[in-house]
Amino acid sequence: MENKFDRGSALSIFSSDRKEDLIALICALAIAAVVYFTVK
């Protein structure tokens, strides 16, 4: 996919893989917390 954006890459809106990984990690931890506290 050709990159038509002036930020990120053709495959990601984030400027680096590390940033994308970090956001994924934060999302996963948030989901885990929600599941842990809401599902009995």
Partner: protein, 528 residues
């Protein structure tokens, strides 16, 4: 550059989501559900998405409508907020398609497949054997959209969020496994799988380099051929900068190779007179997709599940090697792309090792502590016969039915397991459960007796609610990511990739199947 487009599409997507929710909540979709149930299993209710449909589209529909109105009437200025908030439209576009795939398209395809009946002795339906689930269908639908209609401009920024969804899904995959379960694996299975996983990865990389395929293609194909299926492919892809088309090719190669193996493996197994354990070890090593491993094992031993159990153990073991493979590929890729530059392993680990794989290990560690489910769980299921409710214990009429039929069973170990069940009123151990499932699969007893055994099995196996919820999240994140991935695969990109991945996958798959057969025949005895 202002990314937010003044377009009513997001608002309309919100309305579609609310319409789905309303249809499910008001019962209007009942006709469609009845149609699916009648085709798939007359008289039974199998459609299990009504709960999801009664909540998920409502929440996201409201978000889409609010954002859609704001995008339409608000004023937008260049900046980070505009850049990131503009991705909501594309994300919702992918999500609504994922909803249609999961709730309508995939179940319809499955209903048609079930209507066509089971394939030979595999005991499976064609959609299972071909892996026609939301994963494959999602990619195909995404590909159709981009190649036939093209991704609308307002959605393009959001389509680039698909990889984030896949990475989050891989991290959460760690919650499905636990150390206690993996500790039960036989040492031989770990050694055997380790050799073949690492060997396959090495072989794909070696052949790929000789056939001049891009490093990114070789890297992602090696993970798919070495470890197994979609998760490994997705986990390895960012490390080797794999393109969407390369990920799709890898998944396609794995599935096509698995279909062939599923039919050929049982024939060879029978010709060579392999034992259940030998065949289970071979299928679990040589075939990549979990459903196809199960299909081959059941085709080899339709009247018991010993083969299936061994094959599953070998299949599970592969996941242990995922972090090792990702680390290997990270170092390999940096070295290959870096040319003559000398690169240290430590340097690569610090700069390149993906945080999301560390996240996977972290979730695996958390899961092993038992905070989501009893520590011995595997994919949220665990055996516990300590507090079976009184109404779930065998009743006197059940005992009478089973006692009258016990002599129909030929194998002594299965007979003894049934005796213990009759004596205790519940399944005594995991081993007994395996033996009794073999009796059920073998259709040795009457329908009534078989149903009693099925209920006895259900009463001692439990599903952890938290892990069940995690599975639901993982499914959605993967569905979201793979529809978006499909939207990045153009016909031009497929032509560019050519047929090399399938050729290399075929060579490596054949060598792996042959060598694992030799090793299994030489070293695997009846007991592991």
């Amino acid at each position: 550059m202002v990314y937010t487009k003044k377009n009513p599409a997001l608002f309309i997507i919100g309305l579609i989501m609310l319409a789905i929710w309303w249809g499910a909540d008001s019962g209007i979709l009942g006709g469609f559900v009845d149609h699916l149930n009648n085709v798939a299993s007359p008289g039974k209710t199998k459609y299990s998405y009504m709960d999801e449909m009664s909540s998920i589209p409502m929440y996201f529909g409201i978000v889409a409508i609010v954002f859609g109105l704001w995008q339409l009437v608000g004023s937008h200025k260049e900046g980070s907020f505009d850049y990131f908030s503009s991705s909501v439209a594309g994300a919702m576009f992918i999500l609504v398609i994922a909803m249609l795939v999961r709730w309508f398209i995939a179940p319809e395809i499955q209903a048609i497949s079930i209507g066509m009946g089971k394939v030979g002795e595999t005991g499976s339906y064609i959609h299972k054997l071909l892996g026609l689930n939301y994963v494959v269908i999602g990619i195909v639908v995404g590909m159709i959209i981009v190649n036939v209609f093209s991704v609308p401009e307002w959605a393009q920024n959001g389509v680039r969020l698909s990889r984030l969804g896949l990475k989050t899904g891989v991290i959460l995959l760690g919650t499905l496994y636990s150390l206690a379960e993996l500790k039960n694996l036989g040492q031989l299975s770990v050694v055997l799988i380790g050799i073949f996983v690492l060997g396959s990865v090495g072989m794909v990389l070696w052949i790929g380099a000789r056939r001049n395929i891009p490093n990114s293609m070789g890297g992602v194909l090696s993970a798919g051929m070495g470890v197994c299926g979609v998760s490994a492919t997705v986990a390895a892809a960012p490390v080797v900068q794999a393109k969407s088309v390369e990920i799709a090719y890898t998944i396609g190669t794995i599935l096509i190779w698995g279909v062939g193996c599923m039919f050929i493996f049982p024939i060879i197994g029978q010709l060579l007179g392999m034992s259940y354990v030998q065949f289970g070890a071979w299928a679990g090593t040589g075939i990549l997709n979990s459903a196809q491993v199960a299909g081959a094992a059941l085709a080899f031993q339709p009247d018991g599940i010993e083969t299936l159990k061994v094959a599953e153990i070998f299949n599970i073991t592969r996941v242990l090697f995922l972090p090792i493979i990702v680390l290997w590929l990270a170092v390999w890729y940096v070295k290959r792309e870096g040319g003559t530059q000398v690169v240290g392993v430590g340097q690569v680990v610090i700069s390149k090792f993906p945080l999301f794989v560390i996240g996977f290990i972290l979730m695996f560690a958390l899961s092993s502590t038992g905070i989501f489910a009893p520590a011995q769980h595997y994919k949220g299921k665990y055996f516990d016969n300590s507090n079976v409710k009184a109404e779930k214990m065998l009743k006197s009429e059940d005992v009478a039915t089973l006692s009258a039929e016990i002599d129909k069973i030929q194998r002594n170990d299965q007979k003894e397991a049934l005796s213990r069940l009759i004596q205790n009123g519940k399944v005594s151990s995991v081993d007994d459960d395996v033996l009794l499932r073999g009796v059920v699969n073998g259709k040795m007893l009457s329908k009534d007796a078989t149903n009693i055994l099925k209920n006895a099995h259900k009463s001692v196996w439990h599903t952890a609610k938290k892990v069940k919820k995690f599975r639901q999240w993982i499914t959605w994140l993967f569905a979201f990511g793979l529809v978006g991935l499909g939207m990045q695969i153009t016909i031009g990109a497929m032509k560019q990739a050519g047929g090399q991945p399938a050729v290399i996958g075929g060579i490596v798959g054949f060598v792996k199947a042959f060598l694992s057969l030799v090793v299994v025949m030489m070293f695997v005895s009846e007991k592991i």
